[in-house]
């Protein structure tokens, strides 16, 4: 078991998703029970499914100096970066600590592969067309290069791409860099955007629901894919701000695209997160579940939930509100978890009416008002890659 770690201050955080731009839009949508999913109007070839599409990406214009980075994913990053004053907070942290003492850690699954898809649609003979020939539009690190240029950080900078756990794992990575004294702050960014690869790829795996996803419902039919941008700023100290208490990472060692049948990896990640936070399951008030609405994930995750936590721990999946934001899901749901703590609101599991039997008694379908001091967020990805994060309210 890992040792307890000192908690870190989350001095700024924001999210942009199908629920809107910024934290206020998100808490309002949760309170109003207003989901962000709509019928697929993204793919040229019809695909009957619901998607969590962010409004306004098509209208974003990057500043002239950044025009070379123009693609859907970087536009979404730009849209999200400006919300809730995050860009100003990040710039202030860089001035406070020095650019070389601030890490820039990026989590994404597909980065700007939408631009690569477009380049292949518009092939010029057997080459990419000149307008889409820039290498920085086709690298898995495109988001990192874009944000490093925008922010001017000089600390460690890299992309973590572990599918749907990517932007949860950057919290763990940032915590390690600060604890070891390598940096004084870490800017965390998770962005993934809609593209053909993920919509038709998950469709080929028969994991896409034809209707808006219903996590943990007995009649669930698969995932709804979404897109999102989330940002967080980690520092050692901060007044009146929420805290990162712990993190746990593990590997299922079972299968590339199916979870371990007993949830072994999920249990290991959870145990390490609790140990680093110095808490036990009984201390946890709320768990934001991975809850994708695939048959397997929800079956395994509900079992782990029911066997690990007391009934007074409440839990829900927010995928029915936002869709599954894939590589950005970790940080989007971290921000939703922090909103739950701040506002004392357990968001329900939208679209779900009849939970699987037997299902975990902890699962909240309706919204619930209650004090939340400690909350967890689960993120599990292809390759059996798991991450659980533990958060606490303002000290």
């Amino acid at each position: 078991m890992p040792s307890r770690i000192p908690p870190l201050a989350i001095t700024a955080h924001t999210a942009t998703s199908a629920l809107g731009r910024g934290r206020a839009a998100h808490i309002q949508a949760l309170r109003d029970r207003r989901g962000g999913l709509r019928a697929n109007d993204f793919t040229a070839m019809p695909l009957a499914c619901a998607i969590g599409r962010v409004e306004g990406i098509e209208q974003v214009e990057l500043p002239g100096a950044l025009a070379g980075y123009d693609c859907r994913n970087n536009r979404l990053a730009w849209l999200g970066l400006g919300a809730d004053g995050f860009l100003d907070a990040a710039v202030a942290a860089i001035e406070r600590h020095g650019a070389e003492r601030v890490a820039l850690l990026v989590g994404t699954s597909t980065a700007s592969v939408g631009a690569t898809e477009q380049a292949y649609r518009e092939l010029d003979g057997d080459r990419f067309p000149p307008a889409l020939a820039a290498p920085h539009l086709h690298t898995p690190h495109s988001l990192g290069l874009f944000l490093e240029t925008v922010l001017g950080t000089r600390g460690p900078c890299m992309t973590i791409a572990t599918a749907c756990s990517s932007s949860a794992k950057i919290f763990a990575q940032g915590e390690r860099l600060i604890r070891l004294g390598i940096v004084d702050a870490a800017i965390l960014a998770g962005v993934d955007s809609l593209c053909g690869s993920v919509l038709f790829g998950f469709n080929a795996l028969e994991l896409v629901s034809p209707e808006a996803c219903r996590p943990f419902d007995a009649a669930r039919r698969g995932i709804s894919i979404g897109e999102a941008a989330g940002f967080a700023l980690l520092e050692r100290d901060g007044e009146g701000v929420p805290r990162l208490l712990g993190h746990g990472e593990s590997s299922d060692a079972h299968h590339m695209s199916t979870p371990h049948p007993l949830g072994l990896g999920a249990r290991l990640a959870l145990a390490d997160a609790l140990a680093r936070a110095g808490i036990v399951a009984d201390d946890v008030d709320y768990v934001n579940l991975h809850g994708t609405a695939t048959l397997k994930n929800d079956e395994v995750e509900a079992k782990v939930l029911a066997e690990t936590f007391p009934p007074h721990t409440r839990a829900s999946s927010t995928k029915g509100w936002t869709g599954h934001a894939l590589g950005a899901a970790g940080i989007l749901e971290a921000v939703l978890t922090l909103l739950a703590i701040e506002h004392g609101l357990v968001p329900g599991t939208l679209n779900t009416t009849t939970p699987d039997a037997p299902c975990a008694p902890q699962l909240a379908l309706a919204n619930e008002s209650r004090a939340i001091r400690v909350a967890l967020s689960n993120s599990f990805g292809f390759g059996g890659n798991n991450c659980t994060l533990a958060f606490g309210g303002a000290a």
Binding site: T116, A161, I182, G383
Partner: protein, 259 residues
Amino acid sequence: MNDTLTVHIEGIGWCSPGLADWEAARGALREGRVIERTGSAKSVPALLPANERRRAPEIVQLACDIAGQACAMSGRKASDLPCVFATMHGDAAITENLCLTLAGNPLELSPTRFHNSVLNAAAGYWTVATQCHAASNAVSASGATFAAGLFEAAVEAHADGIPTLFAAYDSHGEGALAETMRLSTTWGVALVLNPQRGPRTQATLHLRHDGRTQVAAPLATGTPFEAALPLFAALAHGRGGDVRIVSGRSTTLAIEVLA
């Protein structure tokens, strides 16, 4: 504040055109032979079971080959080691195949190719094959990928005080994406890094992130093979020295090698 990370190398893996393992590469580097920088390389992923070897893409077999070599030399069980896999481009052949299918008939997309397309495919196959339940990571950082992955592995080793596996690899390729990214070399290197000195220590590295100086702009194309070579040349010669590798847009990873 001491921001230097010291790691002790216990195992080394290698694969490049014409040089199948570290023993071959060490010989070539010691003798000052020209290291072939273009072409493909045959990999032998000993730890991948036969059925996984059939399913795994070539680049995953490459990653599992070098990772297996480093583990074998260290004498450590792969199942005990957290792992950091770093790749600048991931699987360009699969990306091209998916994009061409999407441009033709998206409904014909292969489900296996899709799940193999994630950047952590190597980490996924590796942890399944070795029954490793520890944390596994997949890192990419354009032309700074080698430095970023090595640094992350050292950070993870120190954060929990346990030996960690690091592997960096990329593959040559053909097609529009491979041409745009200039994917002309298959190469891979792996290290088992222990934060503590021990009887298996072969060499020691002091790693420091230098955010004030720039050795060179990171390359947007090609592979990080060239960036990694000076470190492995120093290891091959068993000589100490300083190596500086580009680690970001305007940053450097400073490495002091103690033989």
